[in-house]
């Protein structure tokens, strides 16, 4: 509407003030009719509008802006503040919330009336907006006066809620909104005037709870309470706290409830980590993982407790076996290794399940096993026991491929824990040789291959090369034998001969007895094979191991002929009796050229053991060099074929294996030292030793003393020298 008359400032203000009073009245009444009379609205709007567009000197924009400021100030200071200050506790909050809502409405209406200012004048002068002015006034007049009390009340309410009471969440939310808004675009007021205090209070609250609960509750109970507390705090944030508070709040709760009491909690006597593992409390353990996982460094103590527990269990197993061995009973490799495998499977389930496949727990399991898997039981190292276990496993018939694979997987895992890998390889090789040579009926080639392949995958090809060679040899020998048989027109010496050729490099070393005087028939056999072999191969030397052969001999006894399954040595002795009935010990030993120890064993097996093939004079239980032997023509048995077993020579196999491995280790250390020095040229002692240990760790744990000795030996052999100036440093001698 176009007006002719100029509005005077004072006049305009009167109109304005009337309008403001009307607003205040409406707000105070709080009826649902919070609407201004449209006529009044328009009048106010137009008045202000006109006052702004009037020409100079009647352009009152600046004065109006100031007036606006006065209005809101006055409202905040004279209306809002007194009302709030009168109240206490929850009533304080309610009043504050109410007045805050009113203020917002008030300011909103005003912004309509002063709209022209907002759109034109304020941007022109770059002044703070009307809303900013209003908020600032509220902050300065109201907020600053009441915030401390308000904060205290809110925190008291929160504590009440923590104790289980129901509180008015909407109210708190609204009040906290005041704090947030008072930050004028930043979150600072909320943080400084409220959050800080809340966190302090939370800390002491949960510290108290922690010290009470840890005394009163078992570990599972405590954890459940902790989990519950965390859940509630998070919920609290969603309902009325500012979202930025969540991570700080959670951190404090975790710190007070979980971190500070971790040791006490995990080590609780009857309900701590150890007890939970013992009693298979899967849920509680999963909870423990859930609670400690998000905390930095939180899982370490749990993994540690796990490791200690597993090591304890393993050690107990070992101790049991050691005690049994000390009492004289035989060390049953199958039983012990089987138990260790079971233990491993049991705790692996926990690692995968409760502890969610976390690397810490894999590592803890591994370390625990390394501790007890390297202990000796009854004089046998773990390497030997494991090799014995494999031997028994592979000799058992009737196992499916899957069953074997599963067990072999476990074996290979245990092998990883044993530090003396090379020792295992040696024992395994010895046992493998015996299986292949003497038990070849029982040998299941697929199973043997499965085992070797899996070991190879973990330890590398070089580790298993000899074993593979041995298995291949047996295969080649079979085929070669076919060729040999095919080439014969007649049986040499009238005997069915089967020969297995072993590649020296792969097999354990055996003593040979090439001086043995074979009977004529056997000599023919040997010659026949030798010539055939010579045609098929180039310049290879054969060493005959008669000590390892088997012979089937028909004994023509008076009652009935019986087939005797013998060792070659036994057969050779008996064949002497084809020509005479009686022989003295001396005659036998001279004719055959066997060693005394070997002959004694053979004669014992033939004359003093289960089957009396020979009669002995005198009929004592041992062999003396003056004994006389006679063919026992009256010997008989119900069976048509009997195996006359001969006990193996009493060499201390274990000792030999250990010696061989020690020797190999010495070479390995030498080679390693030379290799390192060749590439580094100059190296201090400490570093040489540690690098050596590291490089060899795959195969075995080298003894530092042995390394030192090898270094000195290499110095004497002019591979290395000490540096002239610093005797702790070595130089490579090219």
């Amino acid at each position: 509407m176009y007006r002719e008359t100029i509005i005077d400032f004072e006049q305009g203000c009167k109109c304005l003030e009337a309008g403001v009073s009307e607003l205040k009245r409406i707000l105070e009444e709080e009826t649902s009719e919070t609407r201004i009379d449209p006529k009044q609205y328009l009048e106010l709007y137009t008045t202000i509008y006109n006052m702004c567009i009037q020409k100079h000197p009647h352009d009152h924009s600046q004065r109006l802006y100031n007036k606006y400021h006065d209005i809101v100030e006055h409202y905040a200071k004279k209306t809002v503040l007194p009302c709030v200050q009168q109240k206490h506790d929850e009533y304080l909050l309610r009043e504050l919330s109410r007045r805050w809502d009113h203020y917002k409405v008030f300011v909103n209406w005003l912004s309509h009336f002063f709209n022209y200012l907002e759109r034109f004048f304020i941007p022109q002068r770059n002044y703070p907006s009307l809303l900013e002015v209003a908020m600032k006034s509220f902050r300065d007049r109201v907020y600053l006066e009441v915030q401390v009390n308000a904060k205290d009340v809110v925190i008291a309410l929160i504590d009440k809620e923590r104790e289980g009471a129901q509180i008015d969440r909407e109210l708190v939310k609204n009040v906290l909104n005041v704090f947030v808004q008072s930050g004028m675009g930043t979150i600072e007021k909320y943080k400084e005037d409220f959050e800080m205090f809340l966190l302090e209070d939370t800390e002491s609250y949960y510290a108290r709870k922690a010290s009470r609960w840890i005394q009163e509750c078992s570990c599972p109970e405590y954890m459940i309470k902790s989990e519950e507390s965390l859940r509630k705090e998070k919920e609290r944030v969603i309902h009325y706290l500012h979202s930025s508070t969540e991570c700080k709040l959670v951190e404090i709760v975790e710190k007070e409830l979980l971190v500070s009491v971790a040791k006490h909690l995990l080590e609780k006597e009857h309900s701590g980590c150890s007890a939970l593992l013992r009693d298979d409390k899967v849920d509680d353990l999963s909870r423990m993982y859930r609670l400690y996982h998000p905390i930095p460094k939180g899982l370490e103590p749990v993994a540690d407790a796990f490791r200690i527990h597993v090591a304890r269990e393993g050690n107990a197993l070992i101790k049991q076996a050691q005690d049994a061995a000390a009492n004289g009973s035989l060390v049953e490799a199958q039983v012990l290794v089987g138990k260790i495998i079971d233990l491993h499977e049991k705790y692996m389930v926990y690692v995968l399940d409760c502890f969610k496949n976390h690397t810490f727990f894999h590592k803890a399991l591994k370390e625990a096993f390394k501790v007890f898997c390297n202990k000796k039981v009854g004089g046998s190292s773990s390497a030997e026991l494991l090799a014995n276990f494999c031997d028994s496993l592979l000799k058992k018939s009737g196992k499916s491929d899957e069953a074997i694979e599963a067990t072999v997987d476990n074996v290979v895992k245990l092998l990883d824990y044993i530090s003396d890998n090379d020792l295992f390889a040696e024992f395994y090789r010895k046992k493998l040789a015996r299986r292949l040579l003497f038990d070849h009926h029982k040998v299941n080639k697929e199973h043997e291959t499965i085992m070797i392949t899996k070991i190879k995958r973990q330890q590398g090809g070089q580790y298993t090369s000899k074993m593979e060679g041995m298995v291949t040899d047996m295969q080649l020998a079979k085929e070669f034998q076919k060729g040999f048989k095919g080439s014969l027109t007649a049986k040499p010496g009238g005997i069915d001969l089967a020969v297995t050729v072993l590649n020296t490099g792969f097999w354990p070393s055996y003593k040979t007895s090439t001086d043995l005087n074979l009977p004529r028939e056997m000599v023919e056999c040997v010659e026949a094979f030798k010539s055939y072999y010579g045609t098929k191969t180039n310049q290879r030397k054969l060493r005959w191991l008669y000590s390892h052969g088997t012979c089937h001999v028909i004994g023509s006894f008076d009652p009935k002929p019986i087939e005797l399954v013998l060792s070659t040595y036994q057969a050779v002795v008996l064949c002497l009796f084809n020509n005479t009935e009686r022989l003295t010990y001396q005659e036998i030993i001279e004719q055959l050229n066997l060693s005394h120890e070997d002959l004694v064993r053979v004669l014992l097996s033939l004359s003093c053991a289960k089957y009396r093939i020979l009669n002995k004079e005198p009929a004592s239980k041992s062999i003396s060099t003056t004994d006389v032997f006679e063919f026992n023509s009256k010997f008989t048995s119900t069976m048509r074929r009997i195996k006359v077993s001969i006990p193996p020579p009493p060499i201390d196999e274990r000792k030999k294996v250990v010696e061989d491995v020690d020797q190999d280790r010495r070479y390995a250390i030498d080679a390693c030292i030379v290799r390192i020095m060749k590439s580094r040229k100059v190296l201090p002692h400490q570093q040489l030793v540690s690098q050596c240990v590291e490089q060899l760790s795959r195969m075995f744990k080298p003894d530092i003393k042995m390394i030192k000795k090898r270094i000195e030996d290499l110095i004497t052999r002019d591979y290395l020298e000490r540096d002239a100036k610093n005797h702790h440093i070595f130089n490579y001698v090219a």
């Binding site: 201090p684 002692h685 400490q686 003393k705 030192k708 000795k709 000195e712 110095i715 004497t716 000490r722 005797h727 702790h728 440093i729 070595f730």
Partner: protein, 194 residues
């Protein structure tokens, strides 16, 4: 030069161009010293002699010329000086290490234990080392094998740098195995407290 020739001929073996054990005894009695006197070692060192109780013509001539000697009298006068050389740190070090090659059997790579112990007693009489007797006891007690060149050389290092209470002994150091064992022995026998 001619005087050296005469001197040499006095001691040399009738069948070879060397002064051998016989000649050495005569030399020693001329000098009025015992053959086991350590000064013979020093003399040999000056001559760079290859083996104990033997001097080749070159060694004899070379050594005496270096010392500026051409008569027995002058040699006798020089004896005191040669003894004093053992007190010099650097020279003692050289003489000690020289002794290994010199005193061992020709063709062997290491020292027989008895020879080594004898040499050590002799050498450490000149330079005090409080543990020398324990060392020799230890060797006879526990070692009973030959002594390598490295062990010989390192023993001097040990005597020089490690104090008799072993407080500055580094067990992780590059000491030869035998010396580590010796330290263990000292602890075992409570000669030194750990």
């Amino acid at each position: 030069m001619r005087r050296l020739e005469e001197l040499f001929n006095r001691y040399k073996d009738p069948y070879s161009d060397m002064i051998l054990a016989e000649g050495v005894s005569v030399l020693c009695s001329d000098l009025q010293v015992e053959p086991q006197d350590i000064v013979t070692l020093v003399l040999s060192w000056h001559m760079n002699a290859a083996t104990a109780c033997e001097f080749s013509k070159e060694e004899f001539f070379g050594g005496l010329q270096a010392l500026g000697i051409d008569s027995i009298g002058k040699l006798q006068e020089k004896l005191a000086f040669m003894r004093s050389e053992l007190k010099d740190e650097q020279k003692f070090y050289e003489i000690y290490n020289f002794a290994f090659g010199w005193a061992k059997e020709k063709g062997q790579k290491s020292f027989a234990l008895d020879t080594a112990i004898g040499m050590w007693q002799l050498l450490f009489a000149e330079r005090e080392w409080p543990l020398v007797n324990h060392w020799c006891d230890f060797l006879q007690d526990r070692h009973n094998k030959t002594i390598s060149k490295d062990t010989w050389a390192q023993l001097l290092e040990f005597a020089r740098t490690v104090n008799p209470l072993l407080s500055n002994y580094d067990a992780e150091g590059a000491w030869p195995y035998l010396i580590d064992e010796f330290v263990e022995y000292l602890y075992d026998k409570s000669v030194v407290d750990k």
